[in-house]
Symmetry: C2
Subunit: 326 residues, 2 copies
């Protein structure tokens, strides 16, 4: 579902309409069927929204109808208008999706964007979507956020913290934790036997041998050396500005960046519409579009489903690696 | 000349060889003619290196020969090997170039990369190439470094400082100074009557209304408001990660970023080989390739002249805007 007043319903309906061209796997939507019907109607499209009783029906139905497991909102949804009374339905859809994935009834989950502010108003206590999923999955380590563009995978070491707090947040422990989870996920989720990790430096030119900031030399380099001694294949710390052009991207499977903009600028510059957010280190497969709820364009019919479709395809790909026999 | 042990000579000879295809304007090289002959020979190319007495000869000569104003190195040059005895020649070439430009004998100067370390060994006292040029031009304000890719111009507010020092370096005064110099240069050097400036936020999501760091709200936003009140056309502070995709780039003429990697990642991701460094706010036209001396590949014949050629074309374009009658 995601935030029902955002573009989640619209891009979901659009993704179903484009299921053939993009060769999308069958999916079931956890949302309010009436709301999805209204979304389809306002797009002027015939979309048979079909409430199902059992997930067994999804594969057969998907060709001709959009299968829905109903999650009803308390209030009717108005596009663009947040409503704390509907926060319960948003959370219910996430809980149900996680349960279905943990039970093996679905291969993975794709989460439409939520609006944290309105969830907090309704009493939500988690720092974010991903931490909530980790909690629902019963894991005690932090999962790792990865962003994917067409031929680029990037993990930010730190995410939504002020830039001034980044240097002290870059520690050997955090580097070790994130790189271990990331490398395991590259193997398990993407079938890369020996993943090559490129690590960006914190400072300009990766500190230029210590002359521009000390962290690259004193913190990052020794932390990477320790992992190399364990057999990890790691390049870096590398000057971040020369890591992301076409030839450079061929040298690694995954880039680790020190902070939000260092990681997100290359992804969104290269592939603004088709980027995907993948959560590494969860027991379930989870992807999501890399955009927000886009309340400002909700209900206008102009939202692009590219990122959601890329997220669905990424989830399918990861699931096929995790469970090659199904 | 640039650092004679680097790739400067090689890419200069290659640029002359490609002068027709790229429609390069006539240029004269300030370097050691014997060294340039040797560079051409080792490329297996016939390049008639022609020492000239007067700049009047350049236009006629350029079609058939590479015009050179001799600047002799003290020691013979060995590719890849820095030699402090040759630092004097490097500085002499810069001084002569600036003098010719200030006297109006050349339309502008293009500087090949220098190696600061070896210049410091020889007693060089300036923080960098650009500051040295400012001093030679007798100006007392700091010039502004701009990076150009094919359809992107970016100015970094801070450059070669540790990331931890960036937040306190972002001040209203610095923003005002850099934006004023930048806007004037967009008008004078690029013929943009009312330049649209996009300013990146310091923090992720430009601080998200103050919830991720305070500087965007407390420092950057009010500084930009003051400039808007004077008539400047400025958007921002904007989330840096969504500023650089194709559609976003159409919304502004120049982007101002808060620090090195925020500015350089998009430029080098989009156009690794053809980027150009332009110095704004000098009384003379000055551009340079946006790469270094590349000592590791010097003398191997593999250096790409793309960035130097783009720098020569950019200098021509800027000169034509500054002095439209010539």
């Amino acid at each position: 579902m995601g935030e029902p007043a955002g573009i989640g319903g619209e891009i979901t309906v659009k993704a179903w309409l484009m299921r053939h061209g993009k060769n999308l796997p069958a999916f079931v939507v956890l949302a309010d069927p009436d709301r999805l019907r209204a979304e389809a109607e306002s797009l002027g499209q015939r979309v048979p929204v079909q409430v199902i009783d059992s997930l067994d029906q999804v594969d057969d139905l998907f060709e001709t109808a959009l299968p829905v497991l109903p999650v009803h909102t308390k209030d009717p949804v108005e596009a663009g208008l947040l409503n704390a009374f509907n926060a319960g339905a948003v959370l219910e859809s996430i809980q149900t999706a996680v349960r279905l994935a943990r039970d093996g009834q679905v291969a993975g989950i794709v989460t439409n964007p939520i609006h944290k502010g309105i969830l907090y108003e309704a009493g939500f206590k988690h720092p974010g979507h991903t931490e909530y999923l980790a909690d629902l999955c019963g894991i005690d380590h932090d999962p790792v956020m990865m962003l994917m563009a067409q031929d680029l995978k990037v993990v930010p070491l730190t995410v939504h913290i002020p830039l001034k707090d980044v240097p002290q947040a870059v520690t050997a422990d955090l580097l070790h934790d994130k790189i271990r989870v990331t490398v395991r996920a590259m193997q398990q989720d993407f079938g890369i036997a020996v993943p090559r990790v490129a690590v960006a430096g914190l400072n300009p030119h990766a500190g230029e041998g210590g002359s521009i900031g000390s962290e690259d030399l004193d913190v990052i380099a020794p932390a990477l050396d320790e992992l190399r001694a364990e057999g990890y294949v790691i390049a870096g710390p590398l000057p971040a500005d020369t890591m992301f052009h076409e030839m450079a991207r061929e040298e690694y499977d995954i880039a680790l960046c020190m902070y939000h903009d260092q990681a997100l600028i290359p992804v969104k510059t290269l592939d603004f519409h088709g980027g995907v957010n993948v959560t590494l280190g969860l027991p379930i497969v989870r992807t999501s579009p890399d955009h927000g709820t886009a309340l400002n364009i909700a209900g206008k019919g102009v939202a692009r489903p590219d990122s959601l479709m890329a997220a669905i395809l990424a989830a399918q790909k990861i699931a096929s690696h995790r469970n090659p026999v199904t």
